[in-house]
């Protein structure tokens, strides 16, 4: 009987993985005792498990300041900025797709319509650079805090994230080299879908790049949530988050304009058809790119709203206050 209880307890304990560690330490045993009281030796229903999972994820969102007011305005501001950073990473993926799709587009558009397409493309490039500079400045502003974090042995807290990201990066490098060598032996037609094996390898590498980028974003967020940032740095991060989100919006609008120009004057270019052939303007690649951009912009807006909602309270706190990370132990 004792072993059965132990078995059940270890089974129930799995429910706690949805909750943040600090919450588990404080309430975990109580929640397990309640589940035992409710279910005894029976297995909880799938609906009950889903409800626990949802509640655990809500607690994680609370712990990082993504929802609720309990963690204070500084944590909310930091979380809002990190949401914008994560959205920007997603946006970069769409941007890479756009960069590939738009290669040599100027030659495809008739001379009379070229300025419109070129202006839209230049706007995309300009705001992409603006957002990149803002992100670099944001990272640079946290460097002193990062150095302090590393000196105090903080790497141990995020070692799992770092190892996963570095492994992903190593796999990307290991994949890029042979794929590049392979590509050199292929014609342009083969590189653009004519060779099935190459296409699948390219898609696999693209997915690996996306996963690695996501992994680095999670690592950056995990580190950023543990840094002790001054009031001034948090304010800078929030302002830069606004710049990044605004730039993402501008890039998305300019991408739409570029697409419209190409769809009107050179739809064959979007489909990869022979020059001058009539084609549908509804390019699946562009639909995917613009959808991804729009989703990223929506995420960024959610981050901006989070920052805006906590800004007044944050501004009223003493400017010399130093704010510890949301996940500091």
């Amino acid at each position: 009987m004792g072993s059965l209880v132990t078995l059940k307890r270890s089974h129930y304990r799995r429910f706690l993985r949805w909750y943040p560690p600090s919450w588990r330490d404080r309430y975990g045993e109580e929640l397990l005792a309640l589940i035992e009281d409710e279910w005894g030796t029976k297995a909880p229903s799938p609906r009950y498990r889903r409800a626990i999972a949802r509640a655990g994820l809500r607690e994680r969102a609370h712990a990082t300041g993504l929802v609720g007011q309990g963690r204070g305005s500084a944590t909310q501001l930091r979380s809002g900025s990190l949401v914008v950073l994560s959205a920007w990473t997603l946006f970069v993926l769409a941007g890479i797709g756009f960069q590939k799709t738009s290669e040599h587009f100027a030659q495809a558009v008739p001379l009379a319509s070229r300025p419109t397409g070129q202006d839209a493309f230049n706007t995309v490039a300009l705001f992409a650079v603006v957002s990149l500079v803002a992100v670099v400045l944001g990272v640079a502003a946290t460097l002193p805090a990062l150095a302090t974090f590393l000196r105090s042995g903080g790497l141990r807290q995020v070692r799992r994230h770092v190892i996963r990201s570095v492994t992903g990066s190593a796999l990307v490098v290991a994949g890029v080299v042979p794929l590049s060598l392979w590509a050199h032996h292929l014609s342009r037609y083969q590189r653009n879908g004519g060779d099935g094996a190459y296409s699948w390898a390219f898609v696999a590498l693209a997915l690996l790049v996306a996963a690695t980028l996501a992994s680095w974003t999670v690592t950056a967020a995990a580190v950023a949530q543990r840094l002790t940032l001054s009031h001034a740095v948090l304010r800078i991060e929030a302002c830069l988050a606004f710049v990044v989100a605004g730039s993402m919006g501008a890039v998305t609008i300019a991408t739409f304009l570029w697409w419209d120009t190409l769809a009107t004057h050179a739809s064959w270019f979007l489909q990869g058809s022979p020059i001058g052939r009539s084609s549908s303007s509804l390019s699946l690649t562009m639909v995917a790119i613009v959808s991804l951009m729009s989703v990223a912009v929506l995420f960024a807006m959610a981050g901006v709203v989070r920052i805006s909602s906590s800004w007044r309270q944050f501004s009223s706190t003493p400017p010399d206050a130093v704010t510890g990370g949301a996940l500091q132990s």
Binding site: E30, L34, E38, A55, R58, E59
Partner: protein, 110 residues
Amino acid sequence: MTSSESSGLRRANDPPVLILTSLAGGAKHGHALLKDIESFAGVRLGAGALYGAITRLEERGLIEPLESDDRRRPYQITSAGTRALASVMTEMHDLAEIGASRLKLSWGVS
């Protein structure tokens, strides 16, 4: 902003209101809270919802845990919690009075 809003409490079936109402009758642990709430409100709270609400209420200082050697830790309402609950009850009472008078209900709320 009303005092009930500032304490994060909303209306009748809101888990925090149900928990505070239950604790107003005495300290209880999680399972006892669920049973009591089900008996007086007919609401079956889930364990996740219960502990989410307990977390928020404790953060706001409206309830506090009691010392216990058992894993089933009991909670009691604090004086701030009592004030917040009283404020919600007053709002509900006022609302019920207006509704009852407009519906000309015989039971009336005095």
